[in-house]
Amino acid sequence: MSDRIVKMQIPIILTAVIGLLMIIEFFFPMPAEVTSLNVTLRSFVTIISAAALILGTIVLTIFHAKKVGTRGSEWYYSIVYVLAFVVTAGLGVLNVRDTTFLWIYNNMTSPIGAALYSLTAFYITSAAYRVLRAKNWSGAILLVSALVVLLMLIPIGAILFPPVLPIGTWIRNFPSGAGFRGMIIGTSLGVMGLGVRVFLGRQKEHLGIREEKGGPE
């Protein structure tokens, strides 16, 4: 089978057919066979995601194993990765409900994930200190709005400064809500446009394909 058919036409046709099946199922009552087919296709997503995870893990393990082998830069960190991977994967393969494996997940993986998520608070403060400066009128409005809404959100804010509650609620419900509505509408239209272009095969860059364009100027 030619390279063009395999790399380009088959993915585009698959994308269009499966996408249309999902859309049609949403709007029109379908026979049980079609619904069952769509359920199967959706479960493929889970399988492909798992395969992608395995693929990424293999790529990463090869990368770090090479680094250890060639004593690349900071190769000692790669040893830590390889050891952690071997121990955790080994325990998981033996028994994913094993107490030790769950201990690693509950006491190491989860707290680390939560801690990394919490970095946001520190960086938001650093960014706010640097960026929220009233250099002009729009900056001043942004600054005042941010302060009012923040004081509204912290539990003691409305106790210390009672006016922030009605003002902050108004800011959140009206100007902010209106802005978000506009963005949601615009984004949804953008997604529809992208879907049409991808279904029709007009945009193929996400497949790693770039063709010299011959459209009218």
Binding site: F26, S43, A114, Y117, F122, T125, S126, L153, I156, I184
Partner: protein
């Protein structure tokens, strides 16, 4: 570089250290300060309170390791709230990790149940587990649960679950509670369950996502929302069950005030330094 310039370009590590102290101190030494209850949280609580006793409700458990500290305490308390009213709970998740964390929330909630309140799996609650496919999965689940799930999270066939005997689509539920965390999935519930089936809904999301959903609340498609750790803390407060969320929310007082002080300080220094003009 003058002192003013150094202050204006303050090393972020100093800011991080100050924020760490502002958050760590009240967590290690809990300080309970007065708290105002937000209208969104009150609406969400009253929504749950108004669900008729003995009804069956649907709960989407979308919390993960990253968002469980914010929403987990609130979800646990809400489970207790609903079980105390003899409301039957059907859980599902649209993520694999969140499906596992939903089990954690259920286990923790069952441990907090007052004596005399039933919490039996298959009778008072059931966890249908992971529903693949994102929004299209939710749409299929809402139309015909048995076409998507044939067994629950623990492997029990759906036909052997007493609670599910008369339940097969979204219209069989009295209410929907969408604990979306940071999934950004609340619109799935609005579009696939609220709008087509008319099932009333409330939800939970992280604090920064609340503005995303104010349009749905304004239009009446959602009733209130539990926003982040403060929302969870307010739910604990309204239930009279102070817990982890309340402690964390108190810490946000100090973190938030530090944030505000730093921003004001930065602007004061900026004006004193005589910088001006030009837009970003």
């Amino acid at each position: 570089m003058s002192l003013m310039d150094k202050m204006l370009a303050l090393d972020q590590r100093i800011i991080f250290a100050l924020m760490f102290l502002a958050l760590a101190f009240p967590i290690l030494n809990p300080v309970i300060l007065p708290m105002d209850i937000q209208q969104y949280s009150r609406d969400s609580f009253e929504f749950a309170d108004a669900v008729p006793n003995g009804s069956v409700v649907l709960i989407e458990g979308g919390l993960t390791a990253a968002t469980y500290p914010q929403g987990g305490p609130g979800l646990e308390v809400q489970i207790v709230h609903l079980l105390r009213k003899d409301i039957k709970l059907v859980f599902f998740s649209i993520g694999t990790e969140s499906s596992a964390w939903t089990v954690t929330a259920i286990d923790n909630a069952l441990a907090k149940l007052p004596s005399g309140v039933a919490g039996e799996n298959g009778v008072n609650w059931v966890h249908m587990g992971y529903v693949p496919g994102g929004e299209s999965g939710v749409a299929a689940f809402a139309n015909d649960i048995r076409s998507v799930k044939t067994e629950d999270h623990f492997g029990t066939p759906i036909g052997q679950i007493p609670l599910m005997s008369d339940i097969n689509k979204a219209s069989d539920f009295a209410a929907l509670f969408w604990w979306g965390g940071s999934e950004g999935s609340i619109p799935y519930g609005v579009r696939q369950i609220v709008t087509p089936f008319g099932v009333p809904m409330t939800g939970m999301c992280t604090t920064n996502e609340v503005p995303n959903y104010t349009p749905y609340i304004s239009s009446g498609q959602m009733v209130g929302i539990i926003g982040g750790v403060r929302g969870s803390a307010e739910y604990e407060y309204l239930m009279g069950m102070p817990g982890l969320a309340l402690g964390q929310a108190m810490a946000t007082n100090f973190g938030g005030l530090l944030w505000a002080i730093l921003v004001v300080l930065g602007n004061v220094l900026y004006f004193i330094a005589g910088r001006g003009g030009g837009s970003k």
